[in-house]
Symmetry: C2
Subunit: 151 residues, 2 copies
DNA sequence: TATTGTTATACTCTATAACTATA
DNA sequence: TATAGTTATAGAGTATAACAATA
């Protein structure tokens, strides 16, 4: 996109930002419905297919390690996840989902799909495919952000 | 999109969610760089071209009125916005940007455009136009959420 | 009576700084 | 020395409940 397209570019940016707020509002509502903050919900999503160290969780979320301690404390107290010593590094602590956490994570992922589907149901299959391709192309070239693989 | 396209639909949802997190991370970073929470940043964006009542601000953001009181308190103390009695309703309080708040809001909007532009610069003009159209079409049919017109 | 806004309260989220234990 | 994690602390964000003022 060239510099002369500034009006068109601004329009794209507006659409992207509005779409992002709309999507985040849906994720926020789903989280709140289950007494989770969006961050807690993201933790569940991240741990759905991974067992990670506290420090890795901090990296995924782009948050300070002390924040992660509190976050994991509360989720552990609720029985959603567990800590365990890392076998390879005596300083490190692994985090992973409990069965209850795993169940909630799966349910949450399904809810996200269900909640966003209506918004997309107006698009034709061809348009949906086109949109997917365009978004994926942008994401592939974007500098990977802390949270780019949550969900 | 038909029910048989569930894999394709899930892929679109994943792309949309990832893109949303990426966009929000950018907005969060810009906010933090100016000692604003994302919510404060949104307040500035909302008030950029509007003078609203406290209750309307609550509606825009989807937050409780008591939350708005605190939010406005802090921003007012920082000199970014001001309260005034609503001339038409003795119970209501109007909120609007101070000159400093207005300046920061304009600067912030420009920063958002600048920060998101690189991510989009890899797309051709035709692709950008196509993406804009697809997003706008979805947003037009989406039930308008509390925050859909921030920014 | 209903609505608008504020205040008190409580909890979560977040970062900084100081600390312990391990590498 | 550097890294991993926890704890103490402080401030912001958020909602609920109770309240005063106005419609």
């Amino acid at each position: 996109m060239t510099v002369t397209d500034s009006a068109a570019q601004q329009r794209l940016i507006d659409a992207l930002v509005t779409m992002s707020f709309t999507t985040m509002a849906v994720l926020n509502r789903i989280s709140a419905d289950h007494d989770l903050s969006l961050t807690q919900f993201r933790v569940l999503a991240i741990l759905r297919d991974r067992r990670v160290k506290m420090s890795e969780l901090a990296d995924y979320l782009g948050l300070d390690k002390s924040t992660i301690s509190g976050l994991v404390d509360r989720a552990e107290k609720r029985g959603l996840l567990r800590r365990a010593a890392n076998p390879a590094d005596g300083r490190a602590v692994d985090v992973f989902l409990s069965p209850a956490g795993s169940e909630l994570a799966e349910y949450g992922a399904a809810l996200v799909a269900q909640s966003l589907a209506p918004m997309l149901s107006g698009s034709s299959t061809a348009d949906a495919r086109r949109l997917t391709t365009l978004l994926e192309r942008i994401l592939a070239s974007a500098p990977s952000l802390p949270d780019s693989d949550a969900q």
